[in-house]
Symmetry: C2
Subunit: 134 residues, 2 copies
């Protein structure tokens, strides 16, 4: 049975990634490892952290409704989300990583975030990238 690793943040792009990862897990008969990662500390990515049980319940319900075998890991170990994703993907011998992309355009220019770039370049397996619906 294959394993898909998906990065989750409680935002539109995280929900898009989770939904696509659940579809892929059903298609492939794979199980899902959901990663919510942040460095920790007040000043870091507080918006990316799952902050409440109700947010986690949303994830659990979605995956239960989809009938997908899964585990959820919340990681606060001082690593960048990209490092956490890659470590876990290596640990579970993932067949696929799913990430949500956020468009960043500080000066009107579209660029990929550094975490997305690192995951794409350093992943031990193919990476499926999806944007949030606009």
């Amino acid at each position: 049975m294959g394993v898909i690793v998906v990065g989750y943040v409680p935002k539109a792009e995280g929900r898009a990634a989770l939904r696509l990862a659940a579809d892929e897990a059903k298609l492939r008969g794979s199980s899902l490892v959901v990663i919510n990662s942040h460095r920790g500390g007040r000043e870091f990515d507080s918006q990316d952290a799952v902050q409440s049980e109700s947010q986690l319940d949303e994830v659990r319900n979605e995956l239960r409704d989809a009938g997908v075998e899964h585990e959820i890991r919340q990681l606060v170990r001082g690593l960048d989300p990209a490092e956490d994703m890659i470590h876990v993907a290596e640990e579970v011998s993932a067949d696929l990583i799913v990430i949500g992309l956020r468009r960043r355009s500080p000066v009107g220019k579209l660029i990929l975030g550094s975490n997305a770039q690192r995951i794409l370049l350093d992943a031990p397996c193919p990476v499926l990238a999806v944007k949030a619906a606009e």
Copy 2:
């Protein structure tokens, strides 16, 4: 029946993309549109262009052996490969785009090429990215 669009160049990353796209097409029961795109002109991306019938035969044979319904489009219309990929993906209402990633490290730093970035950010559907085996 879904459609997968794959970017092909006659290099390791192009072959990795083609192979993965064929696997995905079989898994999903989709057909495949293979794009080999270059701007044209002697000075542009000559290494990325399919240059001979034997290179095309390689692609045809691989897809025939895989039993995947496909078409091959060679585009030389003065557009960047990213633009060509996105236009075709929109035209055929693609469910998925598959691209091969090349690591570029002019000064030892890994970065994503501009075509890959544009496809990831502007694609009308999820994008599956794969690196060439090292």
